[in-house]
């Protein structure tokens, strides 16, 4: 194709298109960022004090209800979560979420069966949260925890 010469028309055409692009970008990009970016934001986590470590019995999951404030947009909500604290005889601690990994029902510890039981679809988890039987696809979620000064802290 023969090179078209840069006529006045062509310059104007280029200028107008450039100006249109510039204006669109100047208004459009902040707007897009405004709408889209918050979706990628991590919600803030907080450390909650659960209790004294020596108050938990070993090999016996203890249900703890955590009540904390969480910001949901412009609203502050009081959120309740139940976790199971399992202290092993060797001193290590596991903090298991009570949310079943299958369909988000709440599991409970069955003392006789020595397992976590989910009533929705008969899922069973063992003391460590591993799936024994039933439809759950993966073990119970563990929450990050740490010990400080004899107290157990959990991150939510």
């Amino acid at each position: 194709m023969a090179t078209t010469e840069w006529t006045r028309r062509r310059w104007l055409d280029w200028f107008v298109k450039a100006a249109a692009f510039l204006v669109t970008a100047l208004f459009g990009l902040p707007t897009l960022a405004f709408v889209v970016l918050p979706a990628f934001r991590r919600s803030r986590t907080q450390w909650l004090k659960v209790g004294r470590l020596d108050e938990f019995r070993p090999n016996e999951p203890t249900a703890i209800t955590l009540t904390f404030q969480r910001r949901d947009g412009w609203v502050i909500r009081t959120v309740r979560r139940t976790v199971y604290v399992v202290v092993k005889p060797d001193g290590s601690v596991k903090v298991l979420s009570n949310i079943c990994t299958h369909a988000n029902c709440a599991v409970r510890w069955e003392h006789q069966k020595r397992a976590f039981f989910c009533p929705c679809h008969d899922g069973y988890f063992d003391l460590n949260g591993k799936v024994i039987s039933g439809p759950p696809p993966r073990p119970l979620d563990e929450l990050p925890h740490r010990l400080q000064g004899g107290f157990l802290f959990v991150r939510v």
Binding site: V16, A19, L22, F27, P30, T31, R71, W74, V75, I76
Partner: protein
């Protein structure tokens, strides 16, 4: 892609045809404003649509959602500012576009409907402005809406109906806000879109009116340019300038957000936006009953006239000079509006112009949360006076009040603020600057929102009852020490009892959360430091009390006294009834407990604790000892010389019990014996009372023998005083002392020893009872004949007192 679209819809070629359309030669820079208005509208749509993702149109959520946008979202402030400034720039743009069309006569046949739709679009834009204004639901939004609805109500006949329709009922509230929201984001956009589509379609279909050409002569103007790129170039320049202007405004001046709407706040004065000031000025020309003429009739007439322009000015001439009547009318109206607007702007209160110091003061006002009690021309809290009122303040007085509010009003709950000097100066400067023109500064979001109870008139008084009902109800919003903000100055009535320290224990035991409302959890530790009654304390309190009970002091109180502020003696019994302290658990405690009662004894095997009789008193009363010690003597009493002294004579010492008493103090006896027990032997209470040195003379005179039971006349203690001659020993004492002796010579023994008389008399004095008969025996020991014996005897013994002649009282000479 494009081929597919073209095949399906034919839109691509239509698009290209649109942009390539030829335009008359006389279309120039004056014709860019329609496009710019459209650009502005597009910006408003885009930014508005973005904000719809986050805005919540209910009265309690609207304001926080706007604050959320402003503070927590990327570009939130910017997007909102863009929307705000675009909304304010579109009105001038439309006016310019309208005036241009008017002057160019572009409304003439066949383009009347373009004009009409244009005017309707102007009304839509005004509608957008009125509805969008209310959406942030801040003070300005709420009260501005209230005013406008009131104006609408003033319309005769239909006013109430219109106002109620807009309000969604009788009251301004949630329904109103929702209506305004739906009008703003749904109804008006649809209307606007349809009108814009019609408007642009007509321009395209009928062509742009060439400048100032007679109706009918349009064909004569050659179409030498195309929309793109000839005219779009001009539009592009205009667009760039407009963009720059808008971006600068949005970046430099964020959209204002006043404090949250408070429907109970009647002190707030709303001000209209600048482009309706002329209307407000117009209103002032009419007496109150006729206000609706100014507020409704005139504007309606104006609008109708505007719409009717193409039908009123039917002359085929487009040139301005050819249609002077229309031009002059139009320009006059425009001029009048502008003048009225300027007048209105002058009547506005001056914006606050704060110096940097005052600005810092305003920051402090917000930081220190002064607004929670004070308003500034509305807003804030209802507890303190509104600082916008009250006239010019004296800076010295302001500072004095800040430092000590109680000095000016004894019943104030205002806490004292002793700020560092710079901050104090700034805050005072700001407060002094406040006046009728001032406004409450923007308050950062304080979440969560105040419940309705806090807006009630006497909340300051009634909150006490709410707290008592459930202390934790406050904690859903307030941190526990929030109460201190006011209660620094004012204690709750319970704390004003004089014996509160003693009784607070009961309150705390009953409902500890009540304390939490003001006191942090470690507040108790200040006093309860050594006595945190937890498990560890229970194990150690015995040792702690033994060790520190009397020695550790908190101010003037000892640890023991501190215990007794809450506990009675019986409190110990609650546990120790049956429960023994560690010390009692030693196997031979019963035998060895006597040592426990000794002070300073460290030989106890149970601990290196210093125990004394006081320790026993923590649990046992004195009577407890007598349970056993009635009859059963302690070991100490079993030593040989416990009761009485040893052998009389030289080398004898004190009795055992005297030594004990001297060593340990008489209190050790008191464990079993009452004080009067001593008197059984001693004839007087033991030990000697204070001042006995002075009073013992009487006792001694009365019965010297009592002293002799304990005191040896050779004792140092007596000699200290009695070394000198007593006053009784006058010059003639030697002769007179036999008669003067009142107590048989017993008191002589104090100085002269037991055998005081014998030192001189060589015989016990006074003569014993049977001396009369027995004195003859004394002579038997002498040598010689009878006469010599008597003479020797007399010389040795009797001569001190008696002459030989004395014997003649009974003895006749020569007669034995």
């Amino acid at each position: 892609m494009l081929n597919w679209l073209e095949r399906e819809t034919g839109l691509v070629s239509a698009w290209q045809r649109f942009w390539a359309q030829p335009l008359p030669a006389t279309v120039g820079w004056g014709h860019i404003f329609g496009a710019l208005t459209l650009l502005c509208l597009a910006i408003l749509f885009v930014t508005g649509g973005a904000m719809m993702f986050y805005y919540s149109p209910t009265p309690d959520q609207a304001y926080p959602s706007v604050q959320y946008m402003e503070r927590f979202l990327p570009f939130g402030k910017f997007i909102r500012a863009l929307h705000y400034w675009a909304a304010r720039l579109i009105v001038p743009l439309i006016i310019i576009h309208l005036v241009r069309a008017f002057l160019w006569g572009a409304y003439k046949k066949p383009r009347q409907m373009i004009w009409v739709t244009g005017v309707l679009l102007l009304l839509c834009v005004i509608g957008f402005g009125l509805t969008g204004y209310a959406l942030p639901w801040d003070q300005k939004a709420y009260w501005g809406t209230a005013v406008r609805l009131k104006i609408a109500e003033g319309i005769p006949f239909i006013g109430h109906a219109i106002a109620n329709f807009l309000k969604g009922g009788e009251q301004i509230g949630a329904v109103t806000l929702m209506r305004f929201y739906v009008l703003h984001v749904f109804v008006l956009p649809i209307l606007t879109f349809l009108l814009v589509a019609w408007h642009i379609r007509q321009v395209h279909h009928l062509g742009v009116a060439p400048a100032w050409v007679r109706v009918g002569d349009e064909g004569a103007v050659p179409k030498t340019q195309r929309l793109h790129p000839d005219h779009t170039f001009r539009i592009a320049i205009g667009a760039i300038i407009f963009t720059a202007l808008l971006l600068w405004f949005a970046a430099r001046y964020p959209a204002p957000l006043e404090p949250r709407a408070n429907p109970l706040d009647t002190a707030y004065k709303p001000h209209p936006d600048f482009y309706v000031l002329w209307l407000h000025e117009l209103l002032k020309l009419f007496p109150p009953d006729w206000e609706f003429v100014g507020s409704f009739v005139l504007p309606t007439v104006l609008v109708l006239l505007l719409i009717a322009v193409p039908f009123l000015d039917r002359s085929p001439e487009r040139h301005p000079l050819q249609r002077l009547p229309a031009i002059t009318t139009g320009l006059t109206v425009l001029f009048a509006i502008i003048v009225l607007n300027i007048k209105g702007m002058e009547a506005l209160p001056k914006p606050e112009n704060l110096s940097p110091l005052e600005r810092r003061g305003r920051e402090l006002f917000v930081e220190l949360r002064c607004y929670s009690c004070h308003g500034i021309n509305g807003g804030g809290g209802p507890i303190g006076p509104d600082l916008g009122l009250g006239g010019k303040r004296d800076p010295k007085k302001v500072e004095a009040i800040l430092r000590n509010p109680g000095a000016f009003n004894a019943h104030t709950v205002m806490p004292a603020y002793n700020l560092p000097p710079d901050d104090m100066k700034a805050l005072v400067a700001y407060i002094v600057s406040l006046g009728p023109h001032s406004r409450m500064p923007p308050i950062p979001p304080v979440e969560p929102e105040k419940p309705p109870s806090h807006f009630e008139d006497n909340w300051l008084i009634t909150h006490k009852f709410e707290v008592r009902k459930d202390p934790q109800s406050c904690q859903s919003c307030h941190k526990p020490f929030f109460c201190q903000a006011c209660h620094q100055q004012r204690r709750p009535s319970s704390h004003l009892r004089p014996d509160w320290l003693k009784f607070h224990f009961g309150n705390a035991a009953d409902e500890l959360r009540t304390c939490d409302t003001c006191h942090t959890p470690d507040y108790c530790a200040d006093c309860h430091r050594l006595t945190r009654h937890d498990t560890a304390w229970l194990r150690q309190h015995g040792a702690t009390l033994t060790k520190f009970g009397e020695t550790k002091r908190f101010g003037a109180t000892t640890l023991h006294q501190l215990c007794y502020q809450c506990h009675t003696r019986q409190s110990c019994d609650e546990c120790h009834q049956g429960a023994l302290p560690e010390s009692h658990k030693v196997p031979d405690f019963l035998q060895r407990h006597g040592e426990l009662a000794k002070s300073g004894d460290k030989t106890m095997a149970t601990a290196n604790r210093q125990a004394n009789a006081q320790t026993c008193a923590t649990c046992h009363t004195q009577a407890f000892c007598t349970n056993c010690h009635m009859g059963a003597k302690p070991k100490s009493h079993e030593q040989p010389n416990f009761v009485a002294q040893g052998i009389r004579g030289a080398g004898r010492g004190k009795s055992g019990h005297a030594l004990e008493a001297l060593r340990k103090g008489v209190q050790s006896c008191a464990t079993c014996h009452e004080q009067k027990f001593c008197a059984n032997c001693h004839g007087m209470p033991m030990p000697h009372p204070q001042g006995f040195v002075r009073t013992h003379i009487q006792e001694a005179r009365r019965n010297l023998a009592l002293c002799q039971r304990c005191h040896d006349w050779g004792e140092q203690s007596c000699r200290q005083c009695h070394a000198k001659r007593p006053p009784s020993h006058t010059a003639d004492f030697r002769e007179t002392h036999p008669q003067r002796l009142a107590d048989g010579g017993a008191s002589c023994q104090v100085c002269h020893g037991r055998n005081a008389c014998a030192d001189c008399h060589r015989l016990p004095m006074p003569h014993p009872d049977n001396f009369l008969h027995a004195h003859g025996e004394l002579a038997k020991g002498q040598q010689g004949n009878e006469r010599q014996r008597v003479q020797n005897l007399h010389r040795q013994l009797c001569a001190h007192c008696h002459t030989i002649a004395y014997c003649r009282k009974c003895h006749l000479l020569g007669n034995p």
